[in-house]
């Protein structure tokens, strides 16, 4: 399914929230409607990873070709995880179903489906927990909110745990701090045990395991892409920028999502990194092995997070760098901030990051030894190390979409704004309950940014799009900034559907537009090859 197959935006949002469902939620079977679910993982990808039950199947089929003892596998898996992850047991136990989260989910707002209320999404699994793992649940059964894990329940899990983008907006509003994303993560992990997973997650994971990046770009392919950008930069600016690759003994390893190498508009952001690092004379290196910042393992299982993340420290060690800078990636920062050091550390062979340009010590990165590029760049600007001409970005009236993970998982709220305000003259915030910790998801994170799921994606995109349309109408905003490769892809579809006159791009694209480089020619074109100033049309 594609965007042009969808009804018009106003018809998509024609939802009647006043009509309660005909039956209780336990008696409402799941319907796999076209456009609202993702294709299953291809067997070749499961085989490549050694994951369970590789086979051809479709969620629309009656028979999902499950192992005979699938119930036993799931219940055993649940038991193990309740013992291993105290957070999971806690989140199963402490919800009082107050409903504070109910209307905070972008998928509920856009679909009106009660099972997209975070409380009910978690209840899908909590009901099984209650019946089989609590005394009261065993005694009271359905009266106590417990239910058996039947095939219908399993299908419901698949549908709704792959209809959650793990954005964690709901958890901001939970008085108990229940992290519903972690419930979804465990739900997906359990589904993986019997071979229920989606290809948009598992193929990137398999590619990443094989080549080091989600797109499956081999080393010479990466070199070709980077070289293309270097040539493009020279055409635009007259400056031939450095391209250090796999450079042993470099001070800094740079890691960014592979979407930045391959897909527009991320490629312009990637050119921005190249130009900035060149201008600074930074002693850094790209890597053809640690060639992915993102980690779709996060959308698969804890084990898979660890397997895919391991290459970053391994490559840092092999090359003998001192510390690491990470690019404009979203979920990379949840992995980096919350898992990397305990899973694959300690990185005691690295040094506490210090900017070689300003001398600033990044104390917040003492443990992981990894600094976000907007932390690095905002520090450069604060210390007056960059020559910037923000007027080169004057044709853009910008706003900033906080990506869920940098904002909510890593607290990167001020740094991107500081950079944006210094490289542009026109910046307007979207309404306060749609940004920073309360930011709305793009609608396609956590591996759901595929075409076949486009109906649900555009529903999930609706709250973000509404906030965007507000600033577009009020302040003539025409450019949506973000620092996440999933965003750069999914927001482009969001704007095409909901706000066609708004373009999408990364922050370092605008940094590089504004950056006055030594030896640059009389630059008139931006990184997209378009004039800095739009020619005024005669009235």
């Amino acid at each position: 399914m594609e965007l042009h197959d969808l009804p018009k935006p106003k018809d998509l949002m024609n939802i009647d929230l006043n009509r309660p469902p005909e039956k209780g939620w336990m008696d409402t079977p799941t319907q796999f409607r076209d456009g609202t679910y993702s294709y299953p993982a291809a067997p070749k990808n499961l085989k490549a990873l050694g994951l369970a039950n590789p086979r051809q199947w479709s969620p629309a089929d009656e028979d999902w070709k499950l192992p005979e003892n699938w119930q036993e596998i799931i219940m055993q898996g649940m038991k193990e995880r309740l013992e291993k992850y105290r957070s999971f047991r806690l989140f199963m136990d402490i919800c009082v179903r107050c409903g504070a989260c109910a209307d905070k989910c972008h998928f509920f707002i856009g679909s009106g489906d009660p099972k997209n209320m975070p409380v009910l999404r978690a209840e899908l699994i909590r009901s099984v927990y209650r019946r089989d793992f609590t005394l009261l649940g065993k005694m009271l059964g359905r009266l106590g909110g417990g239910r058996e894990l039947t095939l219908d329940v399993l299908k419901e899990w698949f549908y709704y745990f792959f209809q959650c983008t793990e954005c964690r907006r709901c958890s901001v509003f939970c008085p108990y701090g229940i992290d519903t994303a972690e419930v979804t993560m465990i739900g997906r992990e359990l589904l993986n045990l019997v071979g229920l997973n989606i290809n948009w997650v598992i193929e990137p994971v398999a590619n990443c395991f094989r080549t080091g990046n989600h797109l499956g770009i081999p080393p010479h392919g990466l070199v070709d892409m980077w070289q293309f950008m270097v040539d493009d930069i020279e055409d635009l600016t007259g400056v031939k920028v450095n391209l250090p690759i796999n450079k042993k003994g470099a001070e800094i390893l740079f890691v960014t999502p592979s979407g930045d190498y391959f897909a527009d508009p991320g490629t312009y952001t990637c050119m921005g990194y190249l130009m900035l690092f060149h201008e600074l004379g930074l002693d850094y290196t790209w890597s053809t092995y640690a060639s992915e910042g993102g980690n779709f393992g996060l959308f698969t299982s804890h084990e898979m997070i660890k397997r895919l993340n391991a290459k970053i420290y391994a490559e840092a060690k092999r090359l003998g760098v001192k510390w690491i800078i990470g690019g404009e990636c979203g979920h990379m920062w949840r992995v980096m901030h919350q898992y990397m050091e305990t899973m694959n550390g300690p990185a005691d062979f690295l040094e506490e990051p210090v900017s070689p340009i300003t001398g600033t010590k990044f104390e917040n990165a003492k443990q992981t030894k990894m600094v976000h590029i907007t932390e690095f760049t905002s520090d450069l600007i604060k210390n007056g190390k960059l020559k910037l001409d923000p007027s080169r970005n004057n044709k853009y009236v910008t706003t900033f979409h906080d990506s869920c993970n940098p904002a909510r998982a890593a607290g990167l709220l001020e740094e991107p704004r500081y950079v944006i305000r210094n490289v542009t003259n026109n910046f307007y915030e979207m309404p306060e309950n749609t940004i920073r910790e309360q930011t709305y998801c793009c609608g396609g994170g956590a591996g759901l940014g595929n075409d076949e799921n486009i109906d649900m994606r555009m529903r999930g995109a609706f709250p973000r799009a509404s906030a965007l349309r507000h600033v577009r109408d009020k302040h003539k905003v025409n450019h949506l900034l973000c620092m996440c490769a999933i965003d750069r892809a999914t927001l482009s579809a969001l704007t095409e559907y909901w706000a066609p006159d708004v373009s999408v791009g990364g922050i370092h694209e605008l940094v590089a537009n504004a950056l006055i480089m030594e030896g640059e020619n009389d630059r008139t074109l931006d990184l997209r090859g378009e004039p800095f100033a739009e020619v005024e049309e005669d009235e």
């Binding site: 051809q56 193929e203 797109l215 010479h220 892409m225 979407g259 391959f262 897909a263 993102g294 892809a489």
Partner: protein, 105 residues
């Protein structure tokens, strides 16, 4: 696995109709897949794009960046959409027998 049946031939494809075994590709196969994209006759311009994609894929095991396709073939993106209505990734790559890119794209 879904199967595409066309003019008496049958191919394993993914859900979106992309050829699964790249080794099966040849010009005749390209003609058949072009029909699924609503392209009745492959012109010299179509072939220029398809051969470029195919050769790049054989060399680098990945589709080229879209901007590189434009630069190296001399066709603007708009022109590529005229030739392949589903665009360079979903249309032209399918005719050239390349797999569909997945991830942050």
């Amino acid at each position: 696995m879904p199967t595409l049946e066309i003019e008496g031939r049958s191919f394993d494809v993914d859900e979106d109709g992309f050829l699964q075994d790249p080794d099966l590709w040849n010009e005749e196969v390209a003609h058949l897949f072009a029909k699924t994209e609503g392209i009745d006759a492959m012109t010299e311009e179509h072939w220029k794009v398809v051969h470029y994609l195919r050769n790049y894929y054989l060399e680098f095991n990945i589709a080229p960046m879209i901007r590189k396709v434009c630069k190296d073939t001399g066709f603007k993106l708009k022109k590529i959409y005229e030739l392949f209505p589903s665009g360079p990734a979903k249309g032209a790559c399918k005719v050239a027998g390349l797999p569909k890119p997945t991830g942050c794209v």
